[in-house]
Symmetry: C2
Subunit: 394 residues, 2 copies
């Protein structure tokens, strides 16, 4: 097990009706805030109206910035930074999913860090602080509600880049599973895939003695898979299934599951290129990339050490009976079951399912190693990346 | 799933050599501190010397209070409060296990809350704050290093009582598994039992839809059992096994495993009477009480709802093959295996193993309901408590 530090200060407020605490929780930090959301479904559902009433009651004034979209854009972030500075706002409240939250985090960072904000995403500078951010989560997926991550797309490129900093952790996150009942099935499925990927990126490590967190990862994945099936079997409005998924999605990315281990994260990088060039939803991209990444690992490294983790993943997460398969067969059976699960919730599992132009694979394989080789479970250069994109094209 | 709030601000610093960061981490909060420990093994091992050097380097001055013992005493706490007030100290640094940490928490509370400190343990008053506490953990057991709990024994009684408050959470906890190599096997075993009990108290809930945290609890228990066996099979100095146990023990009690559920905690109350009257180690008391509590539940409630959780515990945690047993048989087989595990690490599983005078059972059964019926999975009155103590006497 690796040495580690772990501290997560985000206050989680979870359950029915909790959105009505938005004002009270915000007022602890500020009286003038930026209210940031898409302007779409959260308005139609009446949620934004409820949040505004709660803010009003608590004596909190707001300026509104709408227009967040999936793969949130740097241009809107810059607009937000200008508003926060000009209006002298002290807090950013995001209502939405990972896109609204990440957009809010970037605005909060841009408000107090000088120079070109994109430098922080290009790893040329390090954040020195940020305004406090609160969130009201409507899409369980990104886990951004208590994570250090912030992923933004710069349209001039386009480039999709992540920025990681403890200053990115929200001060509070409000999570009411009822708010997720009305999500389109595609978004629910993308969310389930995204949180599973967050756990799998941590699970695939070369660290040998991380049994406790292995168990937590496997258990979390099983709970997500079972409750995901419930939601997609007529359980759209099943509070308990929605609650399991929502809380698991937060814990998946709150840092506790990677204590003592080094995760992989190559699949996220491989998907970021799909998202940047084709604006595909993050979860959908991961459902295409992850099976290909696993197959590449099964094919490239037949060592006992490597194969035993791939087989364990199949046995412990996908219920493959280890007694009836050798390690390689078990690993492949696990991947097969994972693909079937993704398909069953309406996710694509091949590039063609998402109408991705495979002629751009060489370009993506070149872009993905912008900062050097990717991945830790297995270091991947451009050639490896191309092979994985090709497996996703089969 | 129940609504919940969750926030744990304790910074965990985990791994080899981390005790050398004690000075740096303390200096963030204070320059004059109380250094609190037993004066025993941590001095002999050289740890206290290392900590003092680290404090010196960071420019932190200390006053030392030693003499903490298992089931930490109110009299020593009061002595500590006087020192902190007279010397105008701003921080308490505990070095040791749950006893040193809980003693430090009580001192930190007593330093800033007026009146008789015992009132806060008797639930007559609520904490309004506390000095910051830091910890260097040498016994993985209580999970007090990031918990809201503080358990103290008042010799005038004697009474053993817990006080719960967010102000009890340490600001940082330093955890180096190497510091636990030299623990006597009995203390290692008590620690393993204590952390397992913390998880089981949370696991046994009437809340029906808490699958995600069920999975986390079961996985944590399996990891503790497997690595406990390793330590007791010649692995005293096995870093990885010690690390798994140490980190699992912290997470067991950091609050994440009971999000959305109501735990039971009757077994803790039943053991507190054993500890108060017979000064038995907390872990050893729990190894006696928990099997009896489980048997009582198996006997008293044959409903499908109740029995299915007892059986699931046996199947998922103790590897009982559900296909070959009915629920009741499976539950009993699980208890049998748990007892065998406790015995294998040198724990008592009956009152007589710990030389407890069973003639005082009626007295303990009366004392334990001091605040009213105990437990949530099953509410227990004095008669029920007596029956459980009797099962532990068999």
């Amino acid at each position: 097990m690796q040495n580690f530090e772990y501290c997560n200060k985000t206050k989680i407020i979870f359950g029915r009706g909790t959105e009505n605490q938005a004002g009270k929780e915000t007022a602890i930090f500020a009286r003038r805030i930026l209210l940031h959301h898409s302007g779409g479904s959260a308005v139609r559902s009446g949620l934004i109206e409820n949040v505004k009433n709660s803010l009003k009651e608590a004596g909190v004034a707001w300026v509104e910035l709408t227009g967040v979209q999936p793969n949130p854009r740097l241009s809107l972030v810059k607009e937000g930074v200008d508003i926060v500075k000009n209006e002298k706002l002290d807090f950013v409240l995001a209502v939405g999913g990972g896109s609204a939250i990440d957009s809010a985090k970037a605005i909060a960072a841009g408000a107090v860090n000088d120079g070109d904000l994109w430098d922080y995403f290009e790893r040329r500078k390090t954040l020195q602080g940020a305004l406090p951010v609160g969130t009201i989560v409507t899409i369980p997926a990104a886990g951004s509600e208590s994570s250090t991550s912030c992923v933004i797309t710069n349209e001039e490129g386009p480039w999709k880049r992540g920025m990681h900093s403890v200053f990115n952790r929200p001060v509070f996150s409000i999570m009411n599973p009822e708010l997720t009942y009305s999500l389109p099935p595609f978004q629910t499925a993308c969310g389930i895939t995204d949180m599973m990927a967050h756990i799998m990126e941590r699970y695939f490590t070369r660290e040998q003695h991380v049994e406790f967190t292995d168990e937590l990862c496997e258990g979390a994945l099983r709970a997500i898979i079972r409750n995901g099936r419930k939601i997609f079997s007529g359980g759209e409005n099943n509070y308990d299934a929605r609650a399991e998924i929502m809380w698991a999605g937060a814990v998946a990315h709150n840092g506790i599951l990677d204590t003592g281990r080094i995760g992989d994260w190559a699949s996220h990088a491989l998907d970021h290129e799909l998202s940047a060039l084709f604006d595909i939803a993050h979860g959908a991209g991961l459902a295409i990339i992850f099976p290909a990444w696993l197959k590449y690992n099964v094919n490239e490294d037949s060592s006992l050490e490597s194969m035993s983790r791939l087989a364990r993943f199949a046995v412990k997460v996908w219920g493959v009976d280890g007694a009836f398969y050798d390690y390689r067969q078990a690993a492949l059976e696990g991947i097969f079951r994972m693909e079937n699960f993704f398909k069953s919730i309406g996710m694509p599992t091949r590039l063609k399912d998402a109408n991705i132009d495979t002629s751009r694979i060489p370009e993506m394989a070149k872009r993905v190693v912008h900062f050097g080789p990717i991945g830790n479970y297995r270091k991947l250069d451009s050639k490896d990346a191309q092979a994985i994109y090709n497996l996703a094209a089969e």
